[in-house]
C-alpha cells in the first residue's frame, strides 16, 4: 500500500482519485466517461461530408463539415450529451475542472466563430426522481468535481454543516446516502449534462462545426503483470512491437510501472443519425515522444514525432475507438 501511495503521488489523476474518493474504490483505476459524436436528429438532407477527429490524452477536437442538399434552410437542434456521471456506482472520475457543470470545458465554433450553446444539467436519482432544484436549494453543485483540494474540502464541509433537516431531506429523496448524523455522505444522484444549440443549415451550403473538450478517460497503472495477463490486448489490438516498447519503458521506471490512459471514443452510435462520412480523418497525438499508443485500426501512418494519422472515404464506422496510451509516470 505504501508503494501504491508513492506511485500515486506521482500521477495526478490517481492521486486525486485516492485523496478525493470517499467510497472505497475496489481497484486502482479511475472511471471513464466515454464520449462520442455530435448528435443530430436524422435528416437525410444533411450530409456529413467531412470529419476530422483529433484525439490526445488531454484534448479531443472535432471538425465536421455538413452540407444541406435540399433547396430549403433546415434548422434543427444539435446536441453533445455527456454520458451519465454515476456517483452511486463509482465516484472516482478523474476530472478537475474550473466549472462543475461544464466540467469537460466544452467549446464550440460554427464557421470559425466562437458560438454560444445551452447547457442542460439535471441531477436524477436512480429511482427516477429529478433532484436538480433540491441540490440547488442547498447550494450543492451538480457535479462534485473540483479543481483543487480546497474546493473539495469546502464542498464536504458545506454539506456536513447543512442543517440536520436538510441532510434528512436529501437522504429521504435518495440524493445522498450515508450515516444519519455525523461525518460523511455519498452522492447518490446521477448527473446528466448535455450541450445543445439550434443550428441553421442553409440550402446548398456547407456549415463547419468545430468543438473541443477535455476527455475523462480511465487512468491506471500498467506494468509487467498487465502484459502477462494480456490486459487490454484485444480492446486496443496490442501487438508485439507495442509490447516490446512497453517492456523497454517499464525497465527504466520505479516499480517498473507505467501510467496508462485508456480513452474510448464512441463512433458507432452516431450511425443512428448519419450515413457514411464522405471523408473521415483521424489524428492521434500521443502527447510525448516517451509515450506509446495502441488502437485497433489498420493503416495508421506516423506523420510526426508524436502524431499518427488515418483517413477513410465513405467511412461507416463499425467499431468504437479504444486507445491505450502508456507513458512514464510524471517525476515532479
Amino acid at each position: 500500500m505504501q508503494d501504491m501511495f508513492a506511485a500515486c503521488s506521482l500521477l495526478k489523476a490517481l492521486c486525486l482519485m485516492v485523496l478525493f474518493t470517499l467510497p472505497a474504490a475496489a481497484n486502482d483505476s479511475t472511471a471513464s466517461l466515454d464520449t462520442g459524436e455530435l448528435v443530430l436528429i436524422p435528416n437525410a438532407d444533411i450530409r456529413l461530408e467531412e470529419e476530422e477527429l483529433f484525439i490526445s490524452p488531454d484534448e479531443i477536437r472535432v471538425r465536421y463539415v455538413f452540407y444541406n442538399t435540399s433547396s430549403e434552410t433546415i434548422t434543427t437542434p444539435v446536441a453533445f450529451p455527456l454520458p451519465p456521471v454515476d456517483y452511486s456506482y463509482e465516484a472516482n472520475y478523474s476530472a478537475d475542472p474550473a466549472d462543475a457543470v461544464n466540467f469537460v470545458d466544452f467549446r464550440l465554433w460554427v464557421d470559425g466563430r466562437n458560438t454560444p450553446f445551452q447547457i442542460d444539467a439535471r441531477a436524477i436519482t436512480r429511482d427516477g426522481r429529478d433532484v436538480t432544484s433540491l441540490l440547488a436549494k442547498y447550494g450543492i453543485p451538480i457535479t462534485t468535481f473540483t479543481s483543487d483540494e480546497a474546493g473539495f474540502s469546502g464542498l464536504r464541509n458545506h454539506l456536513e454543516t447543512l442543517p440536520r433537516a436538510a441532510m434528512a431531506e436529501l437522504r429521504s429523496v435518495g440524493a445522498i446516502h450515508g450515516p444519519d448524523w455525523g461525518e460523511g455522505f455519498y452522492e447518490a444522484w446521477i448527473a446528466n449534462v448535455a450541450f445543445y444549440w439550434m443550428q441553421s443549415f442553409p440550402s446548398h451550403t456547407r456549415v463547419v462545426i468545430e468543438h473541443r473538450y477535455r476527455p475523462v478517460p480511465t487512468y491506471t497503472f500498467y506494468g509487467n503483470y498487465d502484459l502477462e495477463a494480456q490486459h487490454l490486448f484485444d480492446e486496443a489490438c496490442i501487438d508485439a512491437d507495442f509490447e516490446f516498447g512497453a517492456r523497454r519503458r517499464m525497465a527504466d521506471q520505479p516499480y517498473e510501472m507505467l501510467g496508462a490512459t485508456i480513452l474510448k471514443y464512441i463512433l458507432v452510435t452516431a450511425n443512428n443519425w448519419r450515413g457514411s462520412i464522405g471523408r473521415f480523418h483521424l489524428t492521434i497525438d500521443k502527447g510525448s515522444t516517451d509515450a506509446i499508443v495502441s488502437l485497433c485500426r489498420d493503416g495508421i501512418r506516423k506523420t510526426g514525432p508524436t502524431i499518427f494519422e488515418w483517413e477513410g472515404r465513405d467511412f461507416q464506422p463499425n467499431q468504437d475507438l479504444t486507445l491505450l496510451f502508456l507513458a512514464p509516470l510524471p517525476t515532479e
Binding site: 436524422p42 437525410a44 450529451p81 463509482e90 447518490a188 448535455a194 464512441i266
Partner: protein
C-alpha cells in the same frame, strides 16, 4: 395522402401497442423465481428459457392469458401474462451496476405526447409533441427520458412514448423517383409510407420512407436495395425471370441449402409463395418469395436487421410483407 396518413397511424398505434417496454414482475422470490418462456401459449409447451425478475421484454401478441414476447437479445416465445408488467423495471438504488443508457441516441415519438418539466405526469407541461417527431435523448430517469425535441425544447417524456433508433416522420429526403417534396424539421407529418414499384417486373411494396432510404439503382433495373437511416436494417426487393423454370419447392430448397439462411425459425408456404425467417449469423432475416405469370417471374422481398431492433421492425416487416405484390 389520406391513405398514407392512416397507414402511418396504423403503424404508430401498432408500435405503441406492441413495441413498448415490458418486464418480468411479481414472481415469488421464495418459489423458483423464474418465468418460463415457452414455445407455445400453454403449460404443455416446452420451456425455452427461464426468465428472472425484471427481465426486459416486449409483448408482440396476445392469446388468452398468454403473451408472445421478444427478449432484448431477439429470442421469442410465450409467457404467462400474470407475470408481465408494462414499462421498464424499477431501478435498484443499491445496484452496483451502472445504468444502461440511451443518452445520445435519437428516436421518434410514437404518439402525441406532453413534454413536462419534471418526472411526474402531473408536473407542468412545456408543450405537446407531434406523433412521429424527432427527439435526442439527453438524460434518463427511471420511466422518463429527458429529451431535446426537433423544435429545440428540453423536457421529460415517458420512456414508452419514444421508439429509439427510428427516424422521425417528415424529415426524409427526396423520394426514390427523385421528385418528392422535401421537408424540414418544422414540417408536419406529411409522409408515412411510400410505395416502390419496380418498373421492369412490377414488383411492388409499401415501406416507411422515414425509416428507409434507397441505395442507388443497379444497372439492370431488377430491383432496389434500401437501408435504414441508422444503417442497421436493410431490405431488398427485386424481380427476375424464372430462367431455369424452377418450381416453388425447388426455389425454396435452393434457399434452404444456400447456406445464407442458416437458421430457419419460421417457414410458411402458399400456392405461389413462401416465407423463410430466422437468423443469418447474428441478424434476423425475413424472406418472402412470390411466383407470378404461371411461374415465369420470381419476386423477392428480403429484410434483415439486428435482433435488438425486433420490437420496432417486426411489426413494420409484417406490414411490408402484406403489401408485397405485383402491378
Amino acid at each position: 395522402m389520406i391513405m398514407r396518413i392512416s397507414l402511418l397511424l396504423t403503424l404508430l398505434i401498432g408500435l405503441a401497442g406492441t413495441a413498448t417496454a415490458d418486464y418480468v414482475s411479481g414472481l415469488d422470490p421464495h418459489g423458483d423465481n423464474f418465468l418460463a418462456l415457452r414455445s407455445g401459449p400453454g403449460t404443455g409447451y416446452a420451456v425455452l428459457h427461464e426468465l428472472g425478475p425484471n427481465t426486459e421484454l416486449s409483448v408482440l401478441e396476445t392469446s388468452g392469458n398468454w403473451r408472445r414476447v421478444v427478449l432484448n437479445d431477439g429470442k421469442t416465445g410465450w409467457a404467462f401474462a400474470k407475470y408481465i408488467a408494462a414499462g421498464v423495471p424499477p431501478v435498484d438504488p443499491n445496484s452496483e451496476y451502472p445504468i444502461i443508457t440511451q443518452i445520445g441516441r435519437t428516436g421518434a415519438t410514437l404518439r402525441q405526447v406532453t413534454l413536462r418539466v419534471d418526472t411526474a405526469s402531473d408536473s407542468a407541461a412545456l408543450g405537446r409533441l407531434r406523433s412521429g417527431g424527432g427527439v435526442i435523448v439527453l438524460g434518463q430517469s427511471g420511466a422518463w427520458l429527458r429529451v431535446l425535441t426537433e423544435a429545440g425544447a428540453v423536457g421529460f417524456i415517458p420512456t414508452g412514448a419514444v421508439a429509439i433508433g427510428v427516424a422521425p416522420i417528415g424529415l426524409q429526403a427526396t423520394n426514390i423517383s427523385g421528385s418528392g417534396k422535401k421537408s424540414n424539421a418544422a414540417a408536419p407529418a406529411s409522409e408515412g409510407w411510400t410505395r416502390y414499384v419496380n418498373p421492369r417486373f412490377g414488383t411492388a411494396i409499401n415501406y416507411p420512407s422515414g425509416l428507409f432510404l434507397a441505395d442507388p439503382p443497379p444497372a439492370n433495373g431488377d430491383g432496389r436495395n434500401f437501408r435504414s437511416v441508422d444503417g442497421r436494417a436493410e431490405f431488398l426487393i427485386y424481380g427476375q425471370y424464372n430462367a431455369l423454370d424452377q418450381s416453388l419447392s425447388s426455389l425454396r430448397e435452393d434457399d434452404r441449402s444456400s447456406g445464407r439462411y442458416d437458421s430457419v425459425t419460421y417457414e410458411k408456404t402458399g400456392n405461389d409463395w413462401y416465407v423463410l425467417s430466422g437468423y443469418m449469423g447474428d441478424r434476423v432475416y425475413y424472406r418472402r418469395v412470390q411466383l407470378t405469370g404461371g411461374g415465369d417471374t420470381v419476386h423477392v422481398f428480403e429484410i434483415t436487421y439486428p435482433p435488438s431492433d425486433k420490437p420496432a421492425l417486426d411489426p413494420i416487416t409484417t406490414q411490408m410483407s402484406r403489401s408485397f405484390a405485383t402491378e
